[in-house]
Amino acid sequence: MSALVGAFALRPATASARERWVRAAATSDLKAGVPVARLIVVPLVDGWYRDHARRTVFLVWDGEKSVRALSGTCTHLGCQVGWDGATNTFRCPCHGGVYEADGRVASGPPPRPLDTLAADILDNGDVMVRL
């Protein structure tokens, strides 16, 4: 009985995430060497609820054929980091986490670097990110 109740209560928690490639930007939107924040809208299925989720991704372009995509989610407790051009760091407003431009932790509580997302540049200059 309690197993049944437990399974019912936890059922949605077992749903797994599905990733997809989405267009995040064109290289003409980016600036070589400087993280550029892009807001990406992805379809979201949340139980019975259909919506669009908005994710912030920072794209760091080397100026040629390579781009790194950093998740904007702080690895500490999941707040959204912002890019601070004055100090060339990402800063988290919640608990003071600071990351270098490449996502490494500079100071504060984050346990690991900013997550890297798979990213690629197509021949036409579109920057694709897997979310």
Binding site: A13, V34, G47, L77, G78, Q80, P93, C94, H95
Partner: protein, 496 residues
């Protein structure tokens, strides 16, 4: 012992607590008449509760502040019981149920915090759920169970709502009954007969209860603090802060970097709760006078000091809020001009098919607002002819204006400022940045007045090549009126 002794007064929080729990239950039940636990409607339904039903703001305000009273009274009751040694007179299980009650009360506060679905609620919950994930072993499962779905969303809201209105209150009632029965059961070592509750203790309880009730009404007389912006999972500018009684915990997190995070988040709070629960087994002598229980006295003092210090530090460690008028960005002010220039007022007027913009509080994301602004017909097909095409930057400015307007009324700016803001947010902002917002192709103009005066700026804007033959900036002399050119030049020259 005199009937009006200090110990009698100190014993009142326990009984007053019951009264406040009833207030929370009753106001909560009435809030349920209107509240809808869905991401699409939660925010709007809370706004409706505050603004529409007679006394809705008061019911909401009392429920909001009442939660703080319950937390404070629970902590006070526990503290008094520990300090006065009152727990030694009763069954030890009374103390244990009391500790469980504290956790249930905090759980109610936490789950209730999410329900308005504003930014504050959303981000506090993100942090809470990610914290639970740190728990060794069951952390992932706990976080998934609290979240419901993959992300914090519809499934999270309904389960927190269910926890808040039925599961936790049911547990609370059961525990309060157990606690009350056990607390009145004498421990074997106590010989003195129990003091009857009626009439003296009942009178003291009534006095304290009425005073606390009056204080609660005084706090809630203007309603709860206003809702923040609606929950937005991608807003990088929002700085989340928990409710004040969790500020200590919030501050503690900042001291444990990297892999030690679990210490501040889970280990220290869990040890504190365990130590609290074990108090009757640690402090076993019948001695009740705090002066002769140095270990307990020192422990309580240390905990009080640590909690207050962390709370004060957490309180003070917050980003400075920008003064209201200054926080209107040039884009938002420009948006005001475009809103007036375009046809929004055809529908958004008192007598129109939609509410005036001033009365709206955006509960939709910027994409929706942008889409609606560029083609209002999308939400009301057939009502009106499609609008003239609108420039993309004007749309961005109008969205910025409406988002800002959701927070506070338009304060009004001089006409020249509005004109300059409209020019900047229509033409300049694609390449130039002002106060951190704008394009990066041209120089940041936030302090341009230090380099050039209005006359020089006017020349540079009207015909850049006349000043610098290699200038990449297009000339705006033919696109701007004389008034517009003068306004934008004067505005930028004042930026120092």
């Amino acid at each position: 012992m005199s009937p009006w002794s200090r110990a009698g007064w100190l014993a009142t929080p326990g009984a007053v607590l019951i009264a406040f729990a009833v207030v929370q239950a009753v106001t909560g039940a009435f809030l349920m008449l209107y509240y809808v636990p869905s991401p699409d409607h939660a925010y709007d339904s809370v706004r409706f509760i505050i603004s529409s039903p007679a006394g809705g703001w008061l019911v909401h305000g009392v429920h909001h502040y009442g939660a703080s009273f319950v937390v404070v009274l629970t902590a006070l009751h526990l503290l008094v019981s520990a300090a006065s040694g009152a727990f030694k007179r009763a069954d030890r299980r009374a103390w244990l149920t009391g500790v469980v009650l504290l956790l249930i009360v905090l759980g109610l506060a936490l789950t209730g915090y999410l329900l308005p679905w504003d930014q504050r609620a959303y981000w506090a919950t993100v942090v809470t759920i990610n914290l639970s994930q740190l728990a060794p072993g069951a952390g992932r499962l706990a976080a998934a169970a609290l979240r419901g779905g993959e992300t914090i969303g519809a499934l999270t809201l309904t389960r927190w709502y269910a926890l808040h209105v039925i599961f936790l209150p049911a547990a609370l009632v059961a525990m309060v009954i157990a606690h009350t029965i056990l607390a009145r059961r004498r421990a074997a070592t106590v010989e003195e007969p129990p003091v009857p509750f009626y009439p003296e203790q009942a009178a003291r309880t009534a006095v304290i209860g009425l005073l606390a009730g009056a204080f609660l009404l005084a706090l809630a007389r203007h309603g709860a603090p206003p809702l923040g912006p609606p929950a937005d999972s991608s807003d990088t500018s929002y700085v989340p802060r928990p409710e004040w009684y969790f500020l200590g915990l919030f501050q503690l997190l900042k001291y444990f970097p990297g892999r030690y995070e679990v210490l501040g988040a889970i280990v220290i709070p869990a040890l504190a709760v365990l130590a609290l629960a074990a108090l009757p087994w640690i402090d076993r002598r019948p001695e009740r006078d705090l002066r002769r229980r140095p270990l307990v006295a020192a422990g309580l003092a240390a905990v009080l000091l640590a909690v207050s210090a962390l709370t004060v530090l957490g309180w003070r460690d917050r980003p400075p809020a920008a003064p209201a008028a200054e926080s209107w960005t040039v884009r938002a002010i420009g948006g005001r001009v475009f809103v007036e220039r375009h046809t929004c007022a055809r529908c958004h007027v008192e007598t129109g098919v939609a509410d005036p913009l001033e009365a709206l509080r955006l509960s939709r994301g910027p994409e929706w607002t942008a889409a609606h602004t560029s083609d209002p017909e999308m939400i009301a097909p057939g009502l009106r002819e499609p609008p003239a095409p609108v420039n993309e930057r004007e749309i961005a400015a109008m969205v910025a204006y409406m988002r800002r307007l959701s927070g506070e009324p338009y304060p009004g700016f001089p006409l020249r400022t509005e004109t300059a803001a409209a020019v900047f947010s229509r033409y300049c902002i694609g390449c130039h940045t002002l106060d951190g917002d704008g394009g990066k192709d041209g120089p940041d103009l936030s302090r341009i007045g230090r380099k050039h005066d209005a006359a020089a700026l006017s020349r540079r804007i009207a015909d850049p090549e006349s000043v610098d033959p290699k200038a990449e900036m297009p000339s705006f002399g033919s696109r701007l009126s004389a008034d517009e050119l003068a306004a934008i030049a004067a505005y930028l020259a004042a930026r120092r």
